[in-house]
């Protein structure tokens, strides 16, 4: 149901929407059933002169089963929900798919031929991004750095590492159905794979002080060729990084020591 309102732009967006739909169907059934019985009883047993009440205390097994049967059915529904919720969670949050990963390709229609890497840095009140450049390693000469706009390749598995320079922030891209808090002193690893080109909102969803309400960014999903082009053009600008560092001071935005990564369980 979420996709009526917000487009699905990552491989796992549909999976999360399916969990939402499943919960919606099960929960909606119980909600309307209970509410229906509730209103029926209110109407049926409204006060009518001369009609006495029935003395029922709920210990008779014949009456008790009206509680115990729904009780057991809800237990079954809970088990179903747990299975699907955990399955989606494990795929989105607990794994870091590699290229050609069969589980990734089979179940989630990802092309996922190649991996792209990005480091996301949150601070009061801006997003900055660091790309590893041609050598695929962070904190080397050819890194490309930018603020406000995250450029990612469509059809690539993007591995990100998320960190914060001051307080808690939260990296949220609604069209990806992705959200993750950034914690100072820790590196959180994760992934997504964008499926459609376009420009999308990046929100900070954890209150982070005065300008939390305007802490926004953009996610630009491009074809790999466009992104490579942007990267080449931007590498020249990136050489002028001191200008950016001025924006991001007091301490230097990109020279912060990398904290030891917290272990992310892989599979």
């Amino acid at each position: 149901m979420i996709d009526w309102l917000v487009p699905q732009v990552s491989t796992f967006a549909a999976e999360i929407d399916n969990v939402v739909n499943l919960v919606g169907i099960i929960v909606g059934f119980w909600f309307f059933l209970t509410l229906g019985v509730f209103f029926y009883l209110i109407w049926r047993y409204r006060y009518q002169p001369g009609v006495p009440t029935t003395y029922v205390d709920g210990t008779n097994p014949k009456h008790k089963r009206f509680i115990s049967i729904p009780h057991n059915l809800i237990l079954v529904c809970d088990v179903i929900l747990i299975v699907f919720a955990v399955k989606a969670w494990v795929h989105v949050k607990q794994t870091l798919p590699e290229p050609g990963d069969p589980s990734h390709a089979d179940h989630h229609h990802g092309q996922g031929e190649q991996v792209d890497k990005v480091r996301i840095i949150a601070q009061q009140w801006a997003w900055s991004f660091q790309y590893p450049g041609a050598d695929g390693k962070f904190d080397t000469e050819d890194d490309v750095k930018d603020v406000d706009e995250l450029h990612v390749k469509r059809g690539f598995i993007t591995h990100w590492e998320l960190m914060s320079r001051d307080v808690l922030h939260s990296f949220s891209v609604p069209v990806f159905r992705l959200k993750q808090d950034a914690i100072p002193g820790r590196v959180v690893n994760g992934w997504f794979e964008a499926t459609q080109t376009g420009t999308y909102d990046l929100q900070c969803t954890e209150i982070c002080g005065l300008a939390h309400g305007i802490m926004l960014g953009k996610v630009v999903v491009e074809t790999p060729e466009q992104r490579d082009l942007w990267m080449t053009a931007h590498a020249l600008v990136g050489a002028a990084a001191p200008i950016l560092a001025l924006v991001l001071t007091p301490t230097q935005a990109f020279d912060m020591p990398t904290p030891a990564p917290t272990p992310t369980p892989n599979k």
């Binding site: 149901m1 979420i2 309102l5 917000v6 929407d17 969990v19 939402v20 929960v27 119980w30 909600f31 209970t34 509410l35 509730f38 009883l41 209110i42 047993y45 409204r46 006060y47 006495p52 009440t53 029935t54 003395y55 029922v56 205390d57 709920g58 009456h63 008790k64 509680i67 729904p70 009780h71 809800i74 809970d78 919720a85 955990v86 989606a88 969670w89 989105v92 949050k93 307080v167 808690l168 609604p174 069209v175 159905r177 992705l178 959200k179 993750q180 914690i183 100072p184 909102d201 929100q203 969803t205 209150i207 982070c208 002080g209 005065l210 300008a211 939390h212 309400g213 926004l216 992310t264």
Partner: protein, 573 residues
């Protein structure tokens, strides 16, 4: 049981009129140890705080519906002020409205009357509890007026934002906020000791454990939950205060601290806290439903055991608030299981309430309307929680307006509807006057319509991607579509309707106090002991030489073969 102190003080005025033992104003209102007086002080303080919290809600909802306008009665809402408004709205409504009204006010008022004793076991501790509570409320109010304004780091106060003045920019406000919250907990610890002890030790002769009215059990269980969960948070509050003021680094990662630690301490308290306020509201609902449906409670013991199960499981669900907070992702799986499991006892409790209506003879008096509304509205709050407890779905919903709408669908039924249910039910007993039914019904329908009009649109804005604590969505291109803004305006209109409806409550109070019919001892033909004393009950509650003796359970309505459809607990067969 009469306390020793009480015997000395008041033994002589039980059998006489109050006339010749007139207490001074100070002793009567400022230093009274009478549970009914303390209950009213808690209640009206809570209602006063709710007015402040409601005013804050009005200010920020106006800003959200019409960004940048000059809010009538407040002025323009700046971003920092917006943060302070939402923070203190949440803090006030939970800690200074729901807690004092549901636990302290109704617990103080109802427990001694329902178990048939003359006062709380520790009347002076009770008095101290209110004084500390009042102090905490004054500190919180004062924090709005210090330089840089009140604390604006959300009611959850996650560090490092809350721990470091250079991040939060509210040097004094955040310290006063944490001191006020900690003091408030101290007050409720003292209250909780009283409720548990009184309910356990002061029951009238003959009242067995399963003859205790359900609401008393609920307040006892809630007090136990509170006492077991609050310790970690008080420790956390001290650590946060030290981080703010003395340069310690409990939560500062750059010096070896851990910001996630606070989240665990906060939510280890924060989740049971939901049940701490929920259970008394459920108890009040049970009393009212039995009285006005003329029915015995369906499955009293099952209900009680479900409550115990809820209470125990509530200690194992806290990290569902932190799924995406950066905890080890494997933990989310365990907490998804416990969170969905807790839906079972809660659903069972709701089913038992609904089953109680079966075969009844339902009178739609104002308290009954509130009690039925509690069940209907809380159902929606309960089921929407499943979306958030299911970890996979929570990745999307976390920190959106969907969460906000969900917990308002639990907290508004608990605090607002629960308060009005209990207040209209016990008003004749509290003040000896009957409330006006017509005004009460207008107030009821206005409040319910307004409440639903606020939060149903917010489920949709949340599903559409509105994230929380944003003072102006104009900056987010995906969130500027006119349909979303229409929903936000609808929610604000709902709030205005809900606030306007409270005028009928105020008029009802004025009319009923001045010209209300005199309330009989037992206006609803109830069974419980509170209806056997005069309205309002004198100091000492029951005639000194004729304390009640209990012969049966509290819900013997419609017993076959009796002339009347009720059978008071203290009536000999």
């Amino acid at each position: 049981m009469t306390t020793t102190e009480h015997k000395h003080d008041h033994a002589h005025d039980h059998s006489h009129d109050h006339g010749h033992h007139q207490q001074s104003f100070f002793m009567k209102y400022m230093w009274s140890t009478d549970h009914k007086m303390i209950a009213q002080q808690y209640m009206w303080t809570g209602v006063f705080m709710a007015c402040i919290g409601g005013f804050f809600a009005y200010c920020f909802r106006m800003q959200l519906a019409f960004p940048g306008i000059h809010v009538p009665g407040y002025g323009q809402v700046a971003p920092g002020e917006y943060n302070a408004l939402v923070t203190n709205h949440g803090t006030i409504m939970i800690f200074w409205f729901a807690m004092p009204v549901l636990i302290a006010a109704f617990g103080n008022f109802a427990i001694p009357l329902l178990v048939g004793c003359d006062d709380m076991v520790f009347p002076r501790l009770n008095r101290l509890s209110y004084q500390v509570f009042l102090l905490s409320a004054l500190i919180l109010i004062a924090s709005f007026f210090v330089p840089n304004g009140g604390f604006g780091g959300a009611w959850t106060a996650y560090p490092p934002l809350s721990a470091n003045a250079s991040y939060s920019m509210t040097t004094l406000g955040s310290s006063m906020w944490i001191v006020a919250v900690a003091l408030e907990f101290v007050a409720f610890l003292m209250g909780g000791i009283n409720f548990i002890t009184t309910a356990m030790n002061s029951r009238a002769p003959g009242m067995k454990m399963f003859d205790v009215p359900y609401v008393v059990w609920m307040i006892v269980v809630a007090s136990i939950l509170f006492m077991c969960s609050v310790g970690p948070l008080i420790a956390g509050a001290v650590m946060l205060f030290f981080d703010q003021n003395f340069g310690t680094a409990f939560f500062d990662p750059s010096r070896g601290g851990d910001p996630i630690l606070w989240q665990h301490l906060f939510w280890f308290f924060g989740h049971p806290e939901v049940y701490v306020v929920l259970l008394p509201a459920m108890g009040i609902t049970a009393e009212i439903i039995c009285t006005f449906a003329r029915k015995k409670l369906f499955g009293y013991k099952t209900l009680l055991y479900s409550t115990f199960a809820t209470g125990i499981i509530s200690f194992f669900v806290w990290a569902h608030h932190q799924f995406i907070a950066g905890i080890d992702p494997r933990m989310a799986n365990i907490f998804t299981v416990t969170t969905l499991i807790i839906s079972i006892p809660i659903a069972e409790m709701m089913f038992l309430f609904i089953a109680t209506l079966f075969g009844g003879s339902i009178r739609f008096h104002v308290p009954m309307l509130w009690a039925l509304a509690f069940i209907g509205e809380f159902l929606l709050g309960g089921v929407t929680g499943i979306f958030l407890g299911a970890s996979g779905a929570d990745i999307y919903f976390h920190d959106t307006y969907f969460v906000l709408a969900h917990f308002h669908y639990t907290f508004v039924p608990i605090a607002v509807i629960g308060f009005f249910a209990g207040f209209t039910y016990w008003f004749p007993k509290m003040y000896g006057k009957m409330l006006n039914e017509t005004l009460g019904k207008i107030h009821f329908w206005g409040t319910i319509a307004g409440f639903n009009l606020i939060f149903i649109p917010l489920f949709f804005t949340g599903a559409w991607g509105d994230h929380r604590r944003i003072y102006n969505y104009d900056h987010f291109p995906e969130l500027t579509r006119p349909e979303l803004q229409d929903l936000r305006i609808a929610a604000t209109c709902g709030l205005l309707l809900m606030i306007a409806s409270q005028a009928f409550f105020l008029i009802n109070l004025i009319v009923s106090f001045s010209r209300g019919k005199k309330a009989p001892n037992n206006p609803y033909n109830g069974n419980t002991l509170d209806w056997t004393t005069p309205s309002p009950p004198p100091h000492g509650n029951f005639p000194h030489d004729n304390m009640p003796v209990v012969y049966r359970g509290p819900y013997e309505y419609g017993v076959p073969g009796r002339a009347t459809d009720f059978w008071p607990q203290n009536e000999k067969a």
